[in-house]
C-alpha cells in the first residue's frame, strides 16, 4: 500500500484523483459481486466464498504491509468467519453479506475513531513522553495555569455570546424578509458566508479590522467608520479583552446565515390563522413576533442555538488564522493544537478531553431535541 501511495504521489495530482477513486470503486464493485453470489448454493460458489473469506483479509493486511503475525491472524480469522458463515442461522452466506456491507466502514471507524479516542483518554493521564502514568497532573497543570484558565474562559465566552447573537440576528432578519419581494436574494446575501472557509473569512475580517496610524488614511473599513465618526483607529485584534469579541464577530458573520435559513423555514410553518387572530386582537408587529412567532418556532430555535453552540465550542480556524491565540485569545481547540506542536501529547490530549467533556452535554441535548421534534411530526 505504501508503495502504491508512493508511486501515486509521483504522478500529477490531476491523474491521482481518477486513479484513487477508480481503484476504490473497482474494489467496492468486486465486494458487491461477492455479496451478490454469496447466498447461492453449489460447490463453485462455496469455493468462491471460501476464497473471498480468506484472501480478502489476507490481501488487505498484505497491502497494508502488515507484520507477518498480523497477516496470519487475519487469515485465520477469515477462515473462522467462513466456518461461522456456513453454519449461520440466517442461511449460508448471510453473515458474509452483512459483513460485506458493514465491515469496511465499521473497521475504519474502529481503527480511526474508537481506538484513538480510547488512546487519547489514556494519553491524557500520561506524561509528555507517554512513558509514565501521572494521574490527573495534566488537567491540574491546565487548571492551575493562568493561560489554561484563560483558554477555558475564552471558550465559555464564545459559547455564551456567539450562538445567541447569530440566532437573534438570523431570526430578526428571517422575520423581516419573510414574504417580501426579493426574499431569495436577501437570503443568498446573508447565507453566502457559510460557503466561505473560516480561513477565507478570517482574512476578509483581518482586512476589515486593519488599523493605520491616526494621521494616515485608513484601509480597514471598520476603522474608517470609527474615524468618520470622529474616533481614532483601534487595533481590534490586540486590545484585550475585546479582541475575543472581534473574533466572535467573524463567527457570527458566518453562522447567521445558517440560523436565518433554518428559522425562515420554521417561520413559514407558523399557522397563518394564529397570526391573523393576533392581528384582529390588535397586536402590533412586535407583539405578534414575540407572542406568536417565537413560541411557534421554539423547537427550531433550540436546535439552532445548540448547533451553533457546539460549533463555537470547537472553534479553531478563526482563532488560529487571525491571532494564533496571541493576546489572550486562545481557545481549547487551538491550545490542543499548540501543545501537540510543542511535543506535549499528554497536555494536548488533556485539552481534547476537556473539550469533549464540555461539548458532551450540548450534543446529547441537541440530539434529544432533534429526536423529540421528529416524534411530534
Amino acid at each position: 500500500m505504501a508503495d502504491f501511495f508512493g508511486w501515486l504521489s509521483t504522478l500529477s495530482p490531476w491523474l491521482e484523483i481518477p486513479i484513487i477513486i477508480g481503484v476504490f470503486v473497482f474494489a467496492v464493485g468486486v465486494l458487491l459481486f461477492f455479496i451478490e453470489i454469496a447466498p447461492r448454493a453449489g460447490r463453485a460458489y462455496t469455493i468462491a466464498r471460501l476464497a473471498a473469506c480468506v484472501l480478502i483479509p489476507l490481501g488487505i493486511m498484505w497491502a497494508l504491509q502488515s507484520w507477518w503475525w498480523a497477516i496470519a491472524a487475519a487469515g485465520v480469522l477469515g477462515l473462522l468467519f467462513f466456518w461461522l458463515d456456513q453454519r449461520s442461522r440466517g442461511g449460508v452466506g448471510s453473515l458474509f453479506q452483512l459483513f460485506g456491507f458493514l465491515a469496511p466502514a465499521l473497521a475504519l471507524l474502529l481503527v480511526g475513531l474508537v481506538l484513538p479516542v480510547i488512546q487519547t483518554l489514556v494519553a491524557s493521564t500520561m506524561n509528555s513522553r507517554g512513558t509514565a502514568f501521572v494521574g490527573l497532573d495534566n488537567f491540574v497543570w491546565i487548571l492551575t495555569q493562568p493561560q489554561g484558565i484563560r483558554t477555558i474562559v475564552n471558550t465559555i465566552v464564545w459559547v455564551l455570546i456567539a450562538p445567541v447573537v447569530s440566532t437573534v440576528i438570523g431570526l430578526v432578519y428571517a422575520y423581516f424578509i419573510d414574504k417580501t419581494r426579493g426574499e431569495k436574494v436577501y437570503k443568498i446575501l446573508v447565507f453566502l458566508p457559510m460557503a466561505i472557509s473560516f480561513v477565507g473569512a478570517s482574512i476578509i475580517w483581518r482586512f476589515m479590522y486593519t488599523a493605520r496610524p491616526v494621521d494616515a488614511e485608513q484601509i480597514g473599513f471598520v476603522n474608517q467608520i470609527i474615524v468618520w465618526l470622529g474616533g481614532s483607529p483601534v487595533p481590534f485584534l490586540q486590545v484585550q479583552p475585546w479582541n475575543t469579541l472581534a473574533l466572535i464577530v467573524v463567527f457570527v458573520w458566518i453562522y447567521t446565515g445558517f440560523a436565518m435559513v433554518v428559522l425562515s423555514a420554521a417561520i413559514k410553518g407558523v399557522p397563518t390563522e394564529q397570526l391573523e387572530a393576533a392581528e384582529l386582537d390588535g397586536a402590533n408587529g412586535f407583539e405578534r413576533f414575540m407572542n406568536v412567532v417565537v413560541p411557534g418556532i421554539r423547537p427550531s430555535l433550540i436546535v439552532v442555538l445548540t448547533t451553533i453552540a457546539i460549533a463555537s465550542m470547537k472553534i479553531f480556524d478563526i482563532v488560529r488564522t487571525m491571532t494564533a491565540g496571541a493576546n489572550n485569545t486562545s481557545v481549547l481547540a487551538n491550545e490542543m493544537y499548540q501543545q501537540f506542536r510543542s511535543f506535549e501529547p499528554g497536555r494536548s490530549a488533556a485539552y481534547a478531553v476537556i473539550l469533549f467533556i464540555l461539548v458532551l452535554p450540548l450534543v446529547i441535548y441537541n440530539a434529544r431535541q432533534l429526536k423529540a421534534q421528529r416524534e411530534v411530526r
Partner: protein, 311 residues
Amino acid sequence: MTATELITTGRKAKAPAFGEAKRRLTSPWATLAAIIIAAIWTIPTFGILVSSFRPRVEIQTTGWWTALQNWGWTTENYVEALNTSTGGLSLLGAFVNSFAITLPSAIIPLILATLAAYGFAWMEFRGKNLLFVLVFALQIVPIQMAFIPLLQLFSQGELFGFPIIQAFSDQAGYAQVWIAHTIFGLPLAIFLLHNFIAQIPGEVIEAARVDGAGHGQIFFRIVLPLSMPAIASFAIFQFLWVWNDLLVALIFADGNVAPITKLLAQMVGQRGEDWHLLTAGAFIAIIVPLLVFLFLQRYFVRGLLAGSAKG
C-alpha cells in the same frame, strides 16, 4: 423543519397557501433594517473582491471604498499570489492539492457510508440497534480526540504500542489526509444516509428480491439510484467541509501536499501585511465554494444544514 429532515426527507418547505393573508407582516422600517443587515453581511466580501484587483500601492495607502477616486485596476495580484511560495509550495500548487485532497475525500466515505447505511437499514441481525447507536454516538466525539493516535498509527504503524502495519513513508502523498477525512466523515454520513435509505418503501425492495436479486443487485440497481438526492447533498457538504478545513490539514497534510487553506493561514502568519497577496489568495480559495453555492444551491443548503454540527 429541522436540519436533518431537510436532507433526509428531501422535502422542500411547503409554500403555505396564504392568499389574502399574503399581506406583509412587517413595516417599511423592517425592510430598511433588512437591507442594512444584508449590506453589512455583503460589504466584507465585496471589499476583498475590489481590493484584490487594485494595485499594491493603492491597497496599502487608500481604502477600497475610494477605488473610484483612486482609479487603477490590475490582475497582477492574482499572478503574484498564485506564484507565492510558502515552505516550497506555491499557492497554485496548493490550489491543485485542495482538489486532489477534496474529491477523493468526498467520494470514498460516501460510498462506504452508503454500503453501511444499507446494511443498517435493510439487513436484520442481532445487536443492530445498539451498533447503530454507537455509530451515531461517534458523531459527538470532537475529532481532536482522534488526532494524535491516528497520526501515530500512520507514522509508526502502532495501535496501543503494538506494531500492526508498516508505517506510511514520507512519500505517501495525500494518503494520510484522504484516510483521515474518510474516517471523520463516516459517522455523520452513515447516520444521514441511513435515515434516507430506510425510508425507501419496503415493497420496492421486496419486489426486487422476488425477482431474484440479491443484496448486491438491490443495492446497486435500486438503493443507489433512489438515494441520489441524499447522496448529492452529503457529497456537497463533505466537499465543502474538506475544502474549507484547516485543522485536519494542519495535522495530516504536511509539506508539499498542503491544501490552500493551510497555505493561506501560513501566509497570514508570515506576510500578514501584504494585502495585495492575501486578498487575491483569499478570493482564489473562496471562489470554488462560491461557485458550488451559486450553481447547486438547493443541495448546498440542505447539505450544510444537515452537517452543521460536524467536527
